[in-house]
């Protein structure tokens, strides 16, 4: 490994409406190194790689590749400079063969006609380098996830890649498959390819990377030689900001048990047991893919339960559909508000009243006076900023959209509310509004389950935290024992 810098980012800034996604970020990457990029969700890693790949325009700053300076990057320019990105969602055509995918859109040098034989030969050569046996004629949809990823890498290598960016490449892979991927990464490194490796899994970072850079809140924090740092230090760098937001305090202590779950299994989760009291906020922690959203879907009847028991107010209940859950006064605020929570083209009041539209109807006819009153009430109560209640939801900001989702659940007068990532992608002001509202709800005796990847928020809001790891309960932490490192360790399956 030499110290030649191949890619250097200088003072990159990217602003989205309401968010500063990248704030004056400068990082440099050397030839032939594996450079890990760490940071919490929303730290700006994805935006950074998109900037390098030319998928987004940066507002200011310079991208320097092989000594040439670029203030504007486009996808084709980035490609021609040897930058390839493997995103979490693969860019493969499932119904084409491996060879066709590797050489997609590439013209033959010998003939104007497409020759399957020629690209198959070339594909075998590339795959042989990795020491894997995949028939290049196999259709991509018939491959395992790991094999598909190898095809992605082969695609990049066939284009003479200089800088390979991998976004959470190990997320869908099993342990042995990760080993194979590491082997391939090492081979590429020998050839002088720079690899930018994004992962949440710290152990992988220590195994594979030469250097590691940490980002936080859109800013560059620091770069360390992997050998000279340790787990604790990296975690502290990633999450160790001071408490900027304040979390409202609650006066009342929780009441009796509102929801109890015994040995719940299904939807990828197994054997989960816990309970929530009235007026309590139970935090649910875990890494991406640990089964938190899946748990929420089970509780809400949105996914079938295989075994186990759910008790509401001490009585066993059967929840087979969202309608059952709603009738037992359980409400869910989904993580994906646009995909699952809102009717974007419809009016604000239409959205708020939808779950109870049947209840406010006489002989099937909607009582619009009642509807207006309810919508107005919640608009004021949670401070939804909209010019009027007839505004289409699509025209509101993210934070206000989230408030509409919230208003929907409140209008349904649920006793148990499940918040799945309630503050993802919304600005600080709206966050505070939502924290205050959650506190108020808890004070009024509502049991709250809060799934969040924002550790600080989880620690600040919860009375108790349960931690999930790979679909199972990894532990339960009481408020007096709250400790970021301990919880992260539980979530990574260390304890």
């Amino acid at each position: 490994m030499d110290d030649k810098v191949v890619l250097s980012l200088e003072n990159i800034t990217k602003r989205y409406p309401g968010v500063l996604a990248l704030n004056n970020v400068s990082i440099s990457f050397q030839a032939g190194e594996v450079h890990a990029l760490l940071g919490e969700n929303g730290a700006g890693k994805s935006t950074l790689i998109k900037a390098v790949a030319g998928a987004i325009d940066i507002d200011s700053g310079i991208i320097k590749i092989n000594g040439h300076e670029y203030s504007k990057m486009t996808p084709s320019l980035s490609r021609s400079l040897g930058v390839e990105v493997i995103y979490q969602e693969f860019n493969l055509v499932p119904t084409l063969s491996c060879a066709e995918n590797i050489y997609l859109c590439e013209r033959s040098e010998k003939s104007v006609l497409f020759s399957a034989k020629e690209i198959e030969k070339k594909a075998v050569k590339v795959l042989d380098q990795f020491g894997v046996k995949i028939d290049p004629r196999t259709m991509v949809q018939d491959l395992s996830i790991a094999e598909q990823q190898i095809i992605e890498i082969a695609k990049a290598v066939s284009k003479n890649v200089k800088i390979l960016i991998m976004d959470e490449p190990s997320a869908p892979l099993s342990v042995s498959e990760v080993e194979l991927m590491f082997k391939i990464i090492n081979q590429l490194k020998q050839k002088g390819v720079t690899i930018i490796y994004i992962s949440h899994r710290l152990e992988e970072v220590f195994r594979i990377s030469d250097r590691v850079s940490v980002m936080r809140d859109g800013r560059y924090v620091t770069t360390k030689n992997t050998k000279e740092t340790n787990r604790q230090e990296l975690i502290t760098l990633m999450v160790g900001r001071e408490l900027k937001e304040s979390y409202p305090q609650r006066k009342k202590s929780p009441g009796e048990v509102a929801l109890e779950v015994k040995n719940l299994t299904g939807n990828g989760d197994r054997n989960i047991s816990f309970s929530v009291r009235k007026g309590e906020i139970l935090g649910i922690s875990g890494l991406v893919g640990a089964g938190r959203t899946e748990l929420a879907q089970l509780l809400f009847g949105a996914a079938p339960m295989e075994s186990g028991e759910i008790l509401v107010n001490g009585k066993p209940v059967k929840i087979h559909s969202p309608l059952d859950a709603i009738q037992h006064k359980i409400g869910l605020l989904t993580e994906d508000r646009k995909g699952q929570g809102l009717f974007l083209e419809m009016a604000v009041k239409w959205n708020i009243s939808f779950p109870i539209v049947r209840r406010i109807s006489n002989y099937g006819v909607v009582n619009t006076k009642k509807e207006d009153a309810i919508a107005q009430k919640y608009k004021e109560r949670i401070n939804i900023k909209t010019p009027n209640l007839l505004q289409q939801v699509i025209n509101l900001s993210g934070g206000n959209q989230q408030k509409v989702v919230l208003a929907k659940s409140l209008a349904a007068e649920s006793d148990i509310l499940i918040f799945d990532e309630p503050t993802r992608g919304i600005d600080v002001g709206a966050k505070q509004d939502i924290y205050h509202l959650m506190t108020e709800l808890a004070e009024n005796g509502i049991a709250i389950l809060m799934i969040s990847s924002d550790m600080e928020e989880l620690l600040g809001m919860s009375d108790r935290i349960i931690v999930l790891c790979e679909g199972a309960l990894a532990g339960e932490v009481q408020k007096e024992n709250f400790n970021q490192h301990y919880i992260l360790d539980l979530a990574s399956g260390i304890h």
Partner: protein, 333 residues
């Protein structure tokens, strides 16, 4: 910029947005004016009455189709449902000697059943309604041919003539039925919670499911409504033609679909209103009628209708894209 131009600009912008929202209506008025001058017979009471009666049959079925379309589905088997129902109703009254008072309710039941078949196939096979109803369309039509046995079934009781040929206060009965069906449809869509659920299903199916809507039951129900409404058309058409033949009703869904798209019913679901649909239907009626008055050959009429359908779809897509762009600039600002 002086004050006066500002006033004009404001007025222009407002006029522009009003025009935009009512483009189909404007097209209708322009066509009416155009044909009034070109075809001297066009603006006569007799011709207008014929025109409206011509569209009333497809107009009734279009209301049912709109219910399915707003929920995000489609029914291409409407014409074939009518073919089958038409022959069956004729057989009931002529071969089985059933009085209309029994045969008509029976055929309404059968029509609803055909819709249920579509709906159940959609949810059980989990295949897009476009494909399902393309298949059932062929099946229903084939069944119609089989039971018809190439006959021209005639000899209905005279009392049956009223439905398709009668008048109330000078208005043809089918037109009155269309108006009633349209009004009921509009009421359900805009005033009831069931209507809300239809829009919700088409707007965001997953969100509707999570809000507690039984989406499978809804889908079947909507196809049943579509089938029921079309069997009303069946009765009126048979009474109008007064002979059971397999040609009646064939291809009717084409006019329904074109009217819906012209009238602003979105192909993707979640959007549509009865007024727009009726305007769309009238546009088709005016075109058909004027082409007949001008004695256009049949085949050129087909070319014109096909072009109108494509223009309607293109317009729908154009509107969507522009709306999306406006939203993006609004959010960015």
């Amino acid at each position: 910029m002086n004050n006066q131009t500002m006033v004009y600009n404001k007025f222009g912008a407002r006029l522009g947005s009003i025009l935009q929202k009512n483009v189909p209506f404007l097209i209708l008025i322009l066509l009416v004016i155009l044909f009034t001058f070109i075809a001297p017979n066009f603006m006569s009471v007799g011709n207008l009455r014929t025109l409206i009666r011509q569209i009333s049959f497809a107009g009734i079925s279009a209301v049912g189709l709109m219910f399915v379309m707003i929920s995000g589905g489609i029914d291409l088997s409407i014409g074939s449902q009518i073919v089958f129902g038409n022959v069956l109703l004729a057989i009931m009254m002529v071969d089985w000697k059933l009085p209309p008072a029994i045969a008509i309710p029976l055929i309404l039941l059968v029509g609803t059943g055909l819709g249920a078949v579509n709906g159940i196939l959609c949810i059980k096979l989990n295949i897009h309604p476009l494909i399902i109803t393309l298949g059932t369309s062929a099946i229903f039509k084939g069944m119609g041919y089989i039971i018809n046995q190439s006959r021209n079934i005639m000899g209905f009781p005279d009392s049956f003539r009223w439905f398709g040929q009668g008048y109330v206060w000078g208005i043809p009965v089918p037109v009155i039925v269309m108006v009633i069906v349209a009004l009921i449809g509009a009421f359900i869509l805009t005033k009831t919670y069931f209507g809300r659920q239809i829009f919700a299903l088409g707007g965001n199916e997953e969100a509707a499911r999570l809000a507690g809507v039984n989406i499978k039951r809804m889908k079947v129900l909507l196809f049943m409504i579509c089938g029921f409404v079309s069997s009303i058309t069946t009765v009126l058409l048979l009474s109008r033609v007064f002979a059971g033949q397999t040609i009646t009703g064939q291809g009717l869904e084409f006019d329904c679909l074109t009217a819906a798209l012209l009238g602003g019913v979105s192909f993707k679901g979640g959007e549509g209103n009865v007024f727009g649909l009726m305007v769309g239907m009238l546009i088709i009626g005016v075109l058909n009628n004027a082409m007949q008055l001008a004695t256009f050959p049949d085949f050129s009429q087909t070319v014109v209708k096909g072009s109108v359908l494509l223009i309607a779809v293109a317009f729908d897509v154009y509107q969507k894209n522009r709306k999306a762009k406006e939203t993006v600039t609004k959010v960015a600002a």
